[in-house]
Each structure stands twice: as C-alpha cells, then as structure tokens.
C-alpha cells in the first residue's frame, strides 16, 4: 500500500490540525460508503453494536447534535445525549468532574460540544473514551470541515486546485478554522473575506488569501462558502449595522454571478437570511446547503466507525 491510510492514528478526533491528507481522504472515502446506507429501506448497520456513545453538549445545537445522534443510531451504537440545562452542571459541576463521572460508566466515545477552546483536548487527556470534537469555542469543528470537504468533492470531483471563497465572521468561526486547515492540506486555493475587524491576523501564514473585497474573493470561485454572522457575538461593534453588512458582504445573486457558472454555494447553518446571504442565493440552483446537512450524517458515521469500529482485518475470506 502506498501512502493511503487504512486507519486513523489518533484515539480521538480533536481537530483537522491532527489529520494528514491521507487520513482526510480515508474519512471521505468511508463516508461515501456510509452515504449509501441512508437510501436503504433499513437504514441501520450493526457495525457499532454494543458500543456506547455519549453526546455531551454544553452549547445549544440542533443540527450537529441531531446529526451525531442519527449517525450513531444508524451504526447501532447505544447513545445518550446530555442536555446541559437539565444536568448537574447547573449545580456547579466542572467539565472535568462531569467527564470523570461519565468515564466511570465506560462509554466508548464522548462527543463534546463546548464553549471553551481546548475543552476536547482537556477531556482527551483524562478519558479512555475516544473524544470527538463537535465544536470547541473558537478553535475547531472538525466534522463540519470534513462534511464541507465531502460535499465539495461530491460536486466537483476533487479538492485540489479549486478556488474556495469563505465569507463572513472569520474571527470567531471554528468552522472557518477547520475548513482552512483541511482545504489547504488538500491543495485548494482558499480565500478568506470579511470586514477588517473580523479578519484574524496571520491568514497568509496559513496559506489563505485575506481580503475585505467580496468581489475579489468570489471572482471565478468554484465554491462560495458563507459563514454565519454570530449575532450573539456582535456586541463588540465589529461593523456598523446588519443592513450595512449585507450591503457590503451579503451574498447576492449579482455577486454570485462573478463566480464560475457552476459554482456551489455553501453555508454551515443556521442561516441569517438577509444578513450574510440573500434568500434567492440560499434557495438558488447552486445551493448545496441541504446536501451539507445530509452529508453530515454520512461523514459522522465514518468518523465514529473509524474511531471505534476498527478491528484487525482478517485476510482470509
């Protein structure tokens, strides 16, 4: 076997930063096989039978948590989701204590969403269970990066050489961080665009072209990815008003027309229609936003299977 990966090296999926290009390809290839399961009359395979998965979500999430739960159930894992509002966290328990208590009940995988960057790394050091990062603070959201890459590859047949424009609040976005790490590893030409106040410093060192001119980012792009303006984080006066933001950066049909004719439009959701994206674009012909949601289940199945389902491949038939 050349340099193709047949397994993930780590016990956890903490971020795209830890993955090699071969490992990313392995996840995407495995997700292709997983995607077919959604079209069967019985959408369930026994691969993770007897494995226990805990979904620990410290931040509100509908899409990601549902997506993980469906992925786990389709692989026959036993799953439980802990909603923090009704847990002992409201009684003051720390993340570490919660994790140690869960660990004592021997789960195989803990899927963690947390508001603090690095929370998954902390858990990884104290837990035997595999930790899957479902978004930690402003750090990474690796399964979103993987499902975005899967969706691009499904539509374009490749990642290398594509011009990808990512427009929005890049400063606070873990989706952006996972996406640029992944796309640059896979050889895409990545442009990051947003108001100067929302452009993190040092993008060039990561191989990303920074710009505050949306027309420059979108021109001849193969992929236009919009990021959510996180209204809850916009107390800092990063731009004058939402209306002004839409006028300068909002993805309108006129701006999309600058991209390649077959360009795809992506958004990790939840969308603010009329803020970062016009409804005509969100619902337009190039939009793959709902494909991203469908692919999220397949990609998460692949990640869970590769972390927990691996055993020795017995060569004999």
């Amino acid at each position: 076997m050349s340099d193709a990966a047949t397994r993930l090296r780590g016990k956890d999926l903490l971020g795209i930063a830890d993955l090699t290009a071969a490992e990313i390809t392995l996840v995407l290839d495995t997700a292709e096989a997983m995607k077919e399961i959604a079209s069967r009359p019985i959408k369930k395979v026994p691969a993770l039978r007897g494995k226990t998965v805990v979904n620990l979500f410290y931040e509100p999430s509908t899409r990601t948590r549902t997506s993980f739960e469906i992925a786990e159930k389709r692989l026959s894992a036993d799953t439980l989701s802990i909603a923090i509002a009704s847990s002992s966290v409201v009684k003051g328990e720390t993340l570490v204590d919660t994790a140690l208590n869960l660990e004592a009940m021997a789960p195989d995988i803990i899927v963690l969403r947390h508001g603090s960057s690095g929370a998954c790394h902390l858990l990884s050091r104290i837990c035997r269970a595999a930790i899957v990062n479902a978004g930690d603070g402003m750090h990474e959201h690796p399964t979103q990066g993987l499902l975005d890459a899967f969706t691009i590859r499904e539509r374009k047949g490749r990642l290398a050489g594509l011009k990808v424009a990512i427009v929005g609040d890049l400063l606070h976005s873990r989706v952006f961080r996972s996406n640029i790490l992944l796309l640059t590893k896979m050889g895409a030409d990545v442009w990051g665009c947003g108001p100067p106040t929302l452009l993190p410093p040092g993008l060039e060192q990561l191989g990303v072209h920074p710009t505050s001119r949306v027309e420059e980012a979108v021109r001849d792009a193969d992929v236009v990815m919009m990021l959510r303006i996180q209204l809850e984080r916009m107390q800092g006066g990063f731009f004058p008003s939402l209306r002004e933001y839409f006028n300068v950066f909002g993805m309108t049909p006129e701006r999309v027309a600058l991209a390649k004719p077959d360009a795809i439009i992506m958004h990790p959701g939840p969308m603010n229609r009329g803020v970062e994206i016009a409804s005509e674009v969100a619902d337009g012909p190039g939009s793959v936003i709902l494909d991203q949601v469908a692919n999220g289940v397949a990609v998460r199945m692949a990640v869970l299977f590769l972390l927990a389902g691996g055993g020795e491949h017995v060569a004999a038939a």
Binding site: R7, D29, T30, E36, R40, A47, H313
Partner: protein, 182 residues
Amino acid sequence: MPVLMDRERMSRTLTRIAHEIIERNRGVDDLALVGVRTRGVPIARRLAATLGEIAGREVPTGALDITLYRDDLMMNAVGPQPIVRRTEIPFSIDATHIVLVDDVLFTGRTIRAALDALIDFGRPQSIQLVVLVDRGHRELPIKADYVGKNVPTSLRETVQVRIEEIDGRDEVVIEPAEKGPA
C-alpha cells in the same frame, strides 16, 4: 506454489456454473446476482455476462460490502482497519432469487455477514451461493449451491484468487499463510 486454476480453467468453470444456475432456476426470470466485495464483484459481472449470452437478456447485478456486518470488527483495536466501500444494489431484491457470489468459501463468516446485509435490503424469494473455491474449514452451518472447485487445504495455507479486473490476471493458487494471528 500449486496453481489450482488458470485463466482458461476459470473461464470454463464460470461457464459451467452459469449453466447450472439456469438449469436450477429454469431460466433467469426474477434472478439477480450480487457479488461480495472485493473479488466477488468482477466474478458476478462475468457470470452475468455469460448468463446474458445464454438466456438472451440482462441479469441485474449488484455489489455488496460486508465490512459493517463483520463479527470480528471489535476483536482487535490495533492493526489495519477494513476499508468500507460502497454497496451498490440498484434494484429491488424483494421476491427475487438472489445469487450471491464470492471468491473463496472458508469459515462461512463472510457469507453470514452477507446474508445479514442482504436481508436489510428486502425479502428475497431465495438466496443461492456461488463460490469459485471451497477450501473447507467451516465454522458456521453454511454451504454453497454452486462450487467452482473443492480444494482440501490446511490452515497453514491460504487460497489466493486473482482476477484480471483487480489483480491483472486470472488464477487461483495455494500459498503458505503469512505469519500472523493463528
């Protein structure tokens, strides 16, 4: 390294099996072939081509990946993981006679997994099994309906089936097993 089957022998064997399938099913009505990945798939396609020539019409053919149904997935956390590949069954298997095709029948565990996987796609009228080589050492009560060649083997040997579409040539050979878990 004894060669059990060369290209010509393999071709004659598959032609004979195709005739047996037609004889037993009285034609190819409601018949569909499903190859077990990896080498069962090209073998199934060749059988389908031969059946098509004899019966004068096409027999639907699919591919089944059984990785997610294996019973040894959890046995060992180290070592290479089996790569999951796509299952492609682009037809309804309800009420059809499914002919499952694999290269080597050994412990029977792959076929057990394949039966579980198939049942998740519907309720076939029947499932029959074709294998190119039956090497014995069954661990489950499973038996093939059509066998290319019965080959008594030792557990210290492996049977390698090579198919042109995948390996660049057609042959079946017996080789000493590589050192590994006994």
